[in-house]
């Protein structure tokens, strides 16, 4: 018997990291300075590593012979369960930083709580990942302040990037049946409980960045049940191309 809720929980953890890692890898070779290129790539590599562990665990739980690659490369958008925020396009560096800022601050709180999970595998993965994500948070916060406070142009671009991504923040704190069961069993994180700490963290940075705290946006959701933006299909068609074009081949 598959532990369905736990399977989906691990899947979501992996999908968030995989999709954001894929997005960051699009930057490789195109950043504003060589140093920034190296930083973005380091974050992307952390996320791809996290995805590999979490999807591998999901595959084990499923017990249907799908490994991390099987899950990454052979699911269509309807079966992807990442949040909508991570699949948003890179846009300019301001939009990328806004996305990283909004996600990494949530990711850090989520993983910190998950490190206390009764599921030993999830707890261990979270404890390892949270160190990586601490750095992602620092990187994103640093750049929020620099772009927000820097020049009128950077301020305007960052505001637009924040505006683009802000719509998808509510979703991060909304739990569904899977979340509820995981919380009850002491495995998962009560997402709503992270909200106050999240707001405090991001308001601090927004203040330093001379940016107003955006108004609460109507929740746009769907990612966790496979209803995504139009962007995800394109991301997947690129990422999965070889596995789809040559079924059964090993690489």
């Amino acid at each position: 018997m598959i532990d369905q809720p736990l399977f989906h929980y691990a899947l979501r953890l992996g999908d968030d990291s995989l999709i954001l890692g894929q997005r960051l890898s699009e930057w490789c070779g195109h950043a504003a300075a060589l140093e920034v290129d190296l930083s973005l790539t380091n974050i992307g590599l952390d996320l791809i590593g996290q995805a590999t562990s979490a999807l591998g665990y999901a595959g084990d739980l499923e017990g249907a012979g799908r490994d991390a690659d099987g899950l990454a490369f052979h699911r269509d958008a309807l079966d992807y369960e990442n949040c909508l925020l991570v699949e948003q396009p890179n846009g300019d560096f301001g939009q990328t930083i806004a996305r990283q800022f909004l996600f990494s601050n949530w990711h850090w709180l989520f993983l910190s709580a998950l490190a206390a999970s009764k599921d030993a595998t999830l707890a261990a993965m979270a404890a390892k990942s949270v160190k990586e994500v601490s750095y992602h948070v620092e990187f994103a916060n640093d750049w929020m302040v620099r772009l927000g406070d820097g020049t009128p142009e950077s301020h305007q671009r960052l505001s637009a990037g924040l505006d683009w991504n802000w719509r998808f923040v509510e979703e991060l704190f909304i739990g569904d049946d899977v979340d509820n069961e995981m919380v009850q069993r002491g495995i998962g994180v009560d997402k709503a409980s992270l909200r106050a700490a999240y707001d405090a963290r991001i308001i601090d940075v927004l203040n330093d960045a001379n940016l107003p705290v955006p108004k609460k946006h109507r929740a746009i959701t769907g990612g966790r049940r496979g209803h995504h933006s139009e962007h995800l299909g394109h991301l997947l068609s690129q990422m999965q191309f070889l596995q789809r074009a040559y079924p059964g081949a090993s690489w």
Binding site: A33, N42, F139, R146
Partner: protein, 104 residues
């Protein structure tokens, strides 16, 4: 330090240059490994981390604005360093102690 580096950099151009020093493990000194460009000290540290410690090369990093490093002049290397060459009495091997005297 960071003010000086920043003010000397043109806002439009590339960032200022920083020298990077890394302690490879506890107990060792920091050692110069290279440089990075960065707009300020905080980012210089992060750039150094992302550039020079990707293969677990370090446990601690120092960065210093390149402009704040003073170096000895190689043209005066003779005057600077050669006078030390004949002061052999500063080294333990200068002294002859009989073999039967221990712990000295």
């Amino acid at each position: 330090m960071s003010d000086k580096a920043t003010n000397e950099a043109s806002l439009k151009g590339d960032w200022a240059l920083w020298e990077v020093f890394i302690r490879t493990r506890g107990g060792l000194s920091h050692r110069h490994v290279g440089s990075v460009h960065a707009p300020d000290a905080e980012l210089a540290l992060k750039h150094a981390r992302d550039t020079y410690t990707r293969r677990m090369e370090g446990v601690s990093i120092w960065v210093a604005a390149s402009t704040s490093i003073s170096a000895s002049d190689p043209a005066h290397a003779d005057a600077f360093f050669e006078p030390a060459a004949d002061k052999v009495y500063r080294h333990p091997t200068f002294y002859n102690i009989p073999k039967n005297i221990k712990h000295i």
